[in-house]
């Protein structure tokens, strides 16, 4: 059994200082040389669900109300629900296995599909992150029309992505990005390459936990 492990599609070349094993994932809690931000954190192990229903707005996953219009999101106790379109929402359990958070299991109702394996999931947090983003996408994160949290579904480094902006507050800014798992290698390379001039470094889950707990 010890040989069985789950491998993240995100490979970060930094040296892990602290790791944890959860549900067969080797999760890096801290990397060497994380620097002062911005940070790139692999969250691909965080459970993610797809929910589809003709009347999706009437469903209350885990007791939460799905936002009423596409592009809107709700973050509550580490659970992020993103309204994608008229019949679909995505659910990210960002609090999964965080201290003080209860793990969320697959709901019994129909309409849910576990899509954790379908995508990579990374957080880009800290200062200058939108300067990094504008090197990779034409999506307008800084438009005053969008108030965090909000969802963009569009190209990032030419690849279709779901990007949730959780904060636009200067040095505490942060986004969660998911895209097809297959693009993991090249997406991470392009993000780190774009972020190089801003000193973007890989960081462990602890950075993300600290950050999200302050939102």
């Amino acid at each position: 059994m010890k040989d069985i492990k789950r491998v993240s599609p995100v490979k970060l070349k930094s040296n892990p200082l602290k790791t944890e094993k959860r549900d067969n994932w080797d999760i890096v809690m801290e990397y060497a040389g994380e620097g002062g931000g911005p940070y790139l954190v692999d969250l691909s192990h965080k459970p993610r669900l797809d929910l589809q229903n003709a009347d999706v707005g009437a469903i209350t996953p885990f007791g939460m109300t799905i936002p009423d219009s596409p592009g809107k999101c709700i973050l509550q106790d580490g659970l992020l629900i993103n309204r994608m379109n008229g019949t679909q929402a995505s659910i990210y359990n960002l609090g999964y296995n965080l201290a003080g958070q209860e793990d969320v299991m697959m709901p019994d109702e129909t309409g849910y599909t576990d899509v954790t394996e379908s995508t990579i999931c990374v957080a880009i947090i800290g200062k200058n992150i939108f300067s990094i983003c504008e090197k990779l996408t034409a999506l307008d994160f800084m438009s005053p029309e969008y108030v965090a949290p909000f969802l963009f579904q569009g190209p990032f480094s030419h690849v279709p992505c779901q990007i949730v902006t959780l904060s636009k507050a200067g040095d505490d800014s942060g986004i969660i990005l998911t895209c097809s798992r297959g693009y993991g290698r090249d997406m991470i390379h392009s993000i780190l390459d774009a972020g190089d001039e801003f000193n973007l470094k890989p960081a462990g889950e602890n950075r993300f936990s600290d950050w999200i707990s302050h939102l």
Binding site: M1, I4, T113, E117, S118, K135, A138, G182, R185, D196
Partner: protein, 973 residues
């Protein structure tokens, strides 16, 4: 090296910081802030290159790269615009398009042969006799052209890209642009300001003339620039040329990086809500004989050489101008030490009285109604002949500098490429904006304005209009700003003169293409009466200067020649890039974005040779033997593993899931049984087969199906499209990346698999076409299918992607006693071809229907035709004997397999080879081909034509399919 003027506040150089460079193998020095051209000029270089056709000497002219005069090879990169490129330490600069040197070019005799090359000579002369053309073309190409580049040249440097969003984008960082930026920024809008020069200030920046109350224009520019920099909501992009404007206010450009930047150049793409076009004016070149001889330059070029780069552009100058800027420049340059022999002003009257007085005070001779007619000097200007406009008087003066300009002309490319229109303005003699594109506003000198206050006020007005277009601002304040503009001086009267009174054999209207006004006359004489046609016939404006030099002179000259009552003719269309740049800049960072499977790294370690296949990178071979003999034989005789993760995988669930399946699949999908696999296909409305795959039932109203790799990206859209009016309640989830796939194939596959699973996988318990779900080690959920794509006992294991490596390693470990091996996509291709299992896209093309490829058995005719996509068309095509049919063939005389795509021919093309390979299992070459129906009969001889095979043909015979294990025993074992 020339001593620089180093006391001027307008200087952009630091003479204390020397920069070394190499020119023609020798070391020279420039100073910090120099462009390549200004540094070379300081070192005495006057001839920078030779012209395209005639190899005429060329020198500084506009200082803004409006022509190819100073294009040189820098660090191996040809056609670098040296007037715009800042000097960097260690640069290696070479002349281009010369035989010998720019100073002594052995090809300069071409200048005497202009009579042999009238306008359109390559159309007139070279097509008869036709045999001459290939020979002549080679010689012309040798003699002409600008820089040369090797096909394998690797572009040095770092290139980046940035995609920006803003409310207002302002093109031009002169006074109008800065005022527009400030007025929009004050509304709280996000503003981007682009300026092609490395600094702000534009028309004010290099001038010492008074702005107001004793403040110089230069100081005013500095003041405005400081205000702009202080605004947090203005993003400033200096050294950023705009190269295009498009619908919906998309603006593109490129930025030259500073030393501190991480890029040398970067592509800039801006999405704005509104745009202000404030790119100012360039000078309209004065047409006279030898008007491009080194030593002839435009007013701003001469003035900026002194004021920006601290160099007097010559020793003794004659001015031939048509604008007050010329008078102002003469005064300033005189005061800096330039001897001015004479100022010839095209205008008889209308000059600024203050400037006239200052000219008189300096005792500079002024000739009103005079113009330069001819410059003399073989390589550089030595004297110039002036003529009164009525040709009655002539005068020749010795000089080494002719400052020449017919007037100014607005930079309107940004407006016209966005489909704005221009109109000739009789007062200014310029083409001014007429209809502006939606939410684009012009400001400053683009509107013909010249007065400093008017320029600024127009900028403010444009900024307010742009803000209003973003939803901020009031009509009242716009009206108020408009009134201020109205009260200030409007556009000044411009000169109408296009050309000096000369015949024009050596009066160049386009420097880049060596086009003269004589060439234009020749084109007109041949009936080309529209500038767009003349442009193409004479190549005027087709060079790297992007039409900057001939842009507005061409339509004016054509109008003059045609004696039109008004100038209804318009300038020719300009197109992006408005300013030339490197293809590398457009490529940007060019990140490679391919998908990889969870097994990518491990397969590479195992020697996998990868190829890009669609959006994926896949292991195609596992050795340098691209025939894959060992891989194939291992699967046929032992056991192999293939990573099939790229297969499309979907979950379809919900109350109406079955209806959706019935709609898109040709088979009766109600017959999908739990625990069994159903193979079927999808067609388009024409009955053409677009996809195939298997469907399994996971539970009530819950299905899992696969598609081909190439089709996965379109499947959800396809099903949604074909059910869009039905209001069916079903959900579709793309699980392509979620599930990895391992194809375990070969006679020993079962022996390997049974080592790692706990269920009975005997043929009786888990037979062919069965589907099972189980867990490996009570942990890893697996969806397993008994399939036989490669024609052997096979298990297709669908595994959560994150567990793929674990399962792969387990199988490898379990397969060790059997010497299990990887096999790649090419081996799979041969294996399935031997079995005649088709791959859509390989054994089909756009017009191939389900019946053509022999999959008609999948089509369930009892389903209502109207409800199955493609069924109606299939019914119509069913008895059509004119369609291509898929056949199997073997080659004759044990000859090699033809290449994929080779044609089946007799007297005409009768089909083509889809896939053919030398089969190791069969020990002969076999393949599949789509052929005309009458060639599909068993035993028919096929004549196969390959590219460049000449008279040699490969012959084959149509045989029964499949070639290998026709009874299918091996995959069912």
């Amino acid at each position: 090296m020339m001593n620089r003027l180093n006391h001027l506040p307008t200087l952009k150089i630091d003479t204390a910081q020397k920069i070394s460079y190499t020119y023609k193998g020798k070391s020279y020095y420039g100073v910090k802030g120099d462009t390549i051209a200004s540094a070379m000029f300081a070192n005495g270089v006057r001839i920078f290159g030779r012209s395209l056709k005639y190899h005429r000497p060329r020198g500084l002219y506009s200082l803004d790269g409006e022509c190819s005069n100073t294009c040189m090879q820098v660090d191996g990169i040809p056609n670098v615009r040296c007037e715009n490129t800042l000097l960097e330490s260690g640069m290696v600069i070479e002349e281009q398009n010369v035989k010998g040197s720019a100073e002594n070019d052995m090809m300069s005799f071409m200048d005497k042969l202009d009579w042999m090359m009238p306008a359109g000579f390559y159309y007139d002369v070279m097509h008869k006799p036709a045999k001459l053309w290939p020979v002549a073309m080679k010689q012309i190409r040798k003699a002409a052209g600008l820089g040369k580049i090797s096909p394998d040249f690797k572009m040095p440097g770092k290139y980046d890209e940035v995609f920006l969003n803003t409310d207002v984008c302002i093109i031009g960082g002169g006074p109008a642009g800065m005022m527009a930026a400030l007025s929009s920024a004050e509304k709280g809008l996000r503003v981007i300001l682009m300026e092609s020069r490395p600094w702000l200030g534009g028309f004010f920046e290099y001038r010492s003339a008074e702005y107001k109350d004793g403040q110089s224009l230069h100081d005013r520019a500095t003041e405005l620039a400081a205000l702009v920099r202080a605004q947090e909501n203005i993003r400033l992009f200096t050294h950023t040329a705009c190269v295009g404007t498009y619908n919906n206010n998309l603006v593109t450009g490129f930025q030259i990086g500073k030393k501190s930047d991480v890029f040398d150049q970067r592509y800039v793409e801006i999405r704005a809500k509104s745009v202000v076009a404030a790119a100012g004016c360039i000078e309209r070149p004065l047409l006279f004989d030898n008007n491009e001889r080194p030593g002839v330059m435009q007013i701003a070029c001469a003035l900026r050489m002194a004021k920006t780069y601290g160099q007097l552009p010559g020793n003794k100058a004659v001015f031939s101008i048509g604008h007050d800027l010329g008078l102002e420049a003469a005064i300033e340059l005189h005061d800096l030490g330039l001897t001015i022999e004479c100022v010839a002003d095209i205008r008889e009257d209308g000059q600024d009285a203050v400037l006239l007085k200052q000219i008189a005070q300096r005792k500079i001779p002024l000739l009103k109604g005079w113009v330069a007619a001819k410059a003399f000097g073989r390589k550089k200007v030595k004297k110039v002949r002036l003529s009164s406009i009525d040709k009655m008087m002539r005068k020749t003066l010795e000089c080494d500098l002719v400052v020449a300009s017919a007037g100014v002309t607005p930079v309107t490319g940004h407006i016209t490429v966005a489909l704005g229109t221009l109109k000739y303005d009789n007062h200014t003699g310029c083409f001014l904006p007429d209809q502006m594109p939606e939410n684009m506003f012009a400001a400053g000198r683009v509107l013909g304005l010249n007065d400093a206050m008017s320029i600024e006020a127009s900028g403010t007005l444009a900024g307010l209009k742009a803000s209003a277009a973003c939803g901020l601002g009031s009509l009242e304040e716009i009206e108020k700003a408009a009134k201020i503009v109205e009260m200030l001086p409007g556009p000044v009267r411009g000169t109408k003169l296009v050309t000096a009174p000369v015949k024009g054999r050596k009066s160049f209207i386009c420097f880049d293409e060596d086009a003269t006004i004589k060439n234009i006359k020749q084109a007109l004489a041949k009936g080309f009466d529209v500038p767009e046609l003349i442009k193409r016939f004479t190549a005027t404006g087709l060079g790297p200067g992007q039409g900057g030099i001939p842009g507005h002179n061409l339509p004016l000259y054509v109008a003059k020649c045609q004696t039109l009552p008004d100038v209804s003719i318009r300038p020719t269309n300009v197109r992006p890039p408005l300013v030339p740049t490197l293809i590398s800049t457009y490529a940007g960072t060019n990140h490679t974005m391919f998908k990889t499977t969870a097994m990518d790294e491990m397969q590479r370690k195992d020697g996998g040779i990868f190829r890009n296949i669609g959006v994926w990178q896949r292991a195609r071979y596992f050795s340098e033997d691209y025939a894959c003999k060992k891989e194939i034989e291992n699967v046929r005789n032992n056991v192999g593993m293939l990573d099939g993760s790229t297969l499309g995988k979907f979950r379809l669930h919900g109350p109406d899931a079955l209806k959706a399946l019935q709609r898109v699949y040709v088979s009766d999908m109600s017959k999908v049984k739990e625990g069994r696999i159903k193979y079927s296909a999808m067609c388009n409305d024409d009955g053409c087969v677009i996809d195939d795959g298997v469907v399994v039932k996971l539970g009530e109203n819950d299905y899992y199906f696969t598609t081909s790799t190439g089709r996965a990206g379109q499947t959800i859209e396809w099903i949604r499209y074909h059910t869009r009016y039905d209001r069916w309640d079903f959900s579709l989830v793309n699980l392509t990346d979620s599930m990895g796939v391992i194809n375990l194939s070969g006679p020993n596959a079962r022996k390997v698999l049974e080592k790692i699973v706990d269920i009975d996988i005997s043929n009786e318990a888990f037979g062919f076409s069965d589907y099972r779900e189980f867990k490996i080690a009570d942990t890893i959920p697996v969806r397993a299918m008994r399939l036989g794509f490669v024609g052997e006992l096979s298990y297709e294991l669908h595994v959560p992607a994150s567990y793929m490596q674990s399962v792969w390693l387990m199988l490898k470990e379990a397969g060790k006693p059997f010497n299990i091996q990887n096999f790649g996509v090419e081996a799979q291709n041969v294996l399935r071809m031997e079995k005649c299992h088709i791959i859509l896209g390989q054994e089909s093309e756009q017009r191939t229907n389900l019946l053509d490829v022999g999959l008609g058995f999948l089509w369930n005719r009892s389903k209502s035709e109207a409800k199955t996509v493609g069924a109606v068309a299939l019914a119509q095509a069913e008895h059509d004997q004119t369609r291509l049919k898929l056949v199997g063939f073997k080659t004759e005389n044990n000859s090699r397999a033809p290449r994929d795509g080779a044609l089946i021919v007799d007297q005409k093309v009768r089909g083509y080879v889809c896939t053919a390979r030398d089969s190791f299992a069969l020990n002969e070459a076999v393949g599949m081909a789509l052929v005309d129906a009458d060639l599909s009969k068993i035993g028919t001889r096929l004549e196969i034509y390959e590219d460049e095979c000449g008279d040699d043909r490969i012959y084959g015979t149509v045989v029964k399919m499949p070639f290998y294990d026709p009874e299918g025993k091996r995959m069912k074992m």
